[in-house]
């Protein structure tokens, strides 16, 4: 049993005052916290300068832990590989044989695609990554899903840019510091990505559930056509995400949609790429909008070309 703390301040006026002011400061803490909280709930981007500065300052330490984490992961993979190499080797051989056939088919399809796109005067456009970065930290204790990447405004990263790995979309940049940026992961419950089914283009929204899974909400009503194993990619509608970026695979079907696992697990992805903003209006390879119907006589006021949309706000 621990003894109680001596709380008597005695006759010392100084001790009495210091106790009193300590409680005043504690109540002040409650009030200050409540005030900051109300301010930041009203304005999400508030205090981003403080978070940005904190991320900048701790980025070198976070980077060291990233290297350790990556090393530990690959070490575990190597050890696990020894245990399973025999059966895995046979399985991989079978898969390679199948994949060779599929690769030939895919090459033919790609060639056909290219020719069809030439016919339509569409050019293939691949986003050129703005920056490559390490995922250095994430909000592990909060129910919100944020991550910090080791590239900031000095590397050309801007709010709203998509962050992805070779496996698929990870999230989008919310706030930038000089050397670090905060990313809203697509598993966050506030993230909503417009997606389509890769096989037939069924449109849907993928909303994060906060635990690593995504809720696929179909835009069309009717019989739920989804099956486990369906892959979803970004549709690109609304800008922000480059169309065709892999997002998630359905694991279980619900009454009006499905639960999907994200393809690019942030836990396994250390290296990420930051892609430029995708804005359909800025793409020179797209055909010009058809505009008003052509008439025989010239109009008194020729219609101006549509103004390019301003950059998207990152709060949808």
């Amino acid at each position: 049993m621990a003894p109680p703390v001596n709380r008597r301040s005695g006759n010392s006026r100084r001790a009495q005052y210091s106790r009193f002011y300590a409680y005043v400061a504690a109540v002040l803490g409650v009030l200050v916290g409540g005030y900051f909280l109300l301010t930041s709930l009203g304005n999400h981007a508030g205090f981003s300068w403080a978070r940005g500065a904190a991320a900048d300052v701790t980025e070198p330490v976070a980077r060291v832990t990233t290297a350790t984490r990556a090393g530990a992961d690959s070490g575990i993979d190597t050890l696990a590989g020894f245990a399973t190499w025999g059966s895995q080797n046979a399985q991989l051989k079978r898969e390679v044989a199948l994949a060779r056939v599929q690769l030939a088919e895919a090459a033919a399809t790609a060639d056909e695609n290219r020719r069809l796109k030439d016919l339509l005067h569409l050019s293939t456009q691949d986003p050129h990554a703005v920056a490559t970065a390490w995922m250095v930290a994430s909000s592990n204790t909060s129910s919100r899903r944020y991550a910090t990447i080791s590239a900031g405004s000095n590397q050309g990263v801007r709010p709203g840019m998509a962050v992805r790995t070779s496996l698929g979309l990870v999230g989008r940049v919310l706030e930038t510091g000089h050397f670090a940026a905060r990313v809203l992961l697509i598993t966050d419950s506030e993230s909503k990505v417009p997606v389509r089914r890769a096989s037939d283009g069924t449109p849907a929204f993928a909303q994060g559930l906060g635990d690593g899974t995504l809720q696929i909400q179909l835009l069309t009503l009717g019989i739920n056509p989804l099956k486990p194993g369906d892959a979803f990619v970004a549709s690109g509608s609304g800008g922000l995400y480059w169309p065709g970026t892999p997002i998630a695979v359905v694991t279980s079907v619900t009454r009006d949609g499905a639960i999907a696992h994200m393809l690019s697990d942030p836990g396994a992805s250390e290296l990420v790429e930051v892609e430029p903003l995708w804005n359909p209006m800025d793409d020179p390879s797209l055909p010009a909008p058809s505009g008003p119907p052509q008439v025989a006589h010239p109009l008194p006021h020729p219609a101006k070309p549509a103004k390019p949309k301003p950059a998207h706000k990152h709060w949808l």
Binding site: A22, G29, T39, A62, N140, G212
Partner: protein, 185 residues
């Protein structure tokens, strides 16, 4: 102050011991620094797809408050919560508010139940951790999230189980806090 370290050390005469003195900076700053580091640590260890790691900063705060009630002033929640808010991903102000309330609540509890033991302290801490996580979820959801309470269940369990371990860590830091250093000049 008594040096309680168990490691074998060279036998020193009283005169030699007098030349060694604890660093006041380390003695006073250790609780603050350890809580700040514990606030930052969960973000670095893994990049997880869901909330899993208990709020180590908060656990550390409660552990220091329970093990050494005289070291942290009752207003410590304000500066320490502010730093936690920069790294936690919660809306800014969340930890300032909740940590300040925690310090006041622990003060009141100590006043009402001055005698305590391991089990009662663990029960109090468990209630504090669960309440803190639920309030944090409410605040995060008010700030735009829509996470269900079920997602937090593993984190709550881990937090409650990790608390006694955190207590041992705090006890270790409390010993190292009073390490004697040789003073030159």
């Amino acid at each position: 102050m008594k040096d309680q370290r168990a490691s074998p050390r060279p036998i020193r005469t009283n005169k030699q011991r007098a030349a060694l003195t604890p660093s006041p900076a380390l003695a006073y700053l250790a609780p603050w620094l350890s809580i700040i580091v514990a606030s930052m640590l969960p973000g670095w260890v893994i990049i997880s797809a869901g909330p899993l790691i208990p709020p180590l900063g908060y656990l550390m705060l409660v552990a220091w408050r329970q093990l050494r009630p005289d070291l942290l002033p009752v207003w410590a929640g304000l500066p320490l919560g502010l730093i936690d808010d920069l790294f936690s991903g919660q809306p800014f102000g969340s930890a300032i508010l909740l940590w300040s309330v925690t310090m006041l609540a622990l003060d009141v509890l100590e006043h009402r139940f001055p005698w305590r033991n391991f089990v009662t302290e663990w029960l109090v801490a468990a209630a504090m951790i669960i309440a803190y996580l639920m309030m944090s979820l409410e605040i995060a959801n008010a700030g735009g999230g829509a996470t269900s309470l079920l997602v937090l269940a593993p984190q709550m369990l881990l937090g409650v189980l990790a608390y006694p371990v955190m207590g041992r860590v705090v006890a270790r830091i409390d010993q190292a806090r009073l390490t004697r250093f040789r003073v030159f000049g």
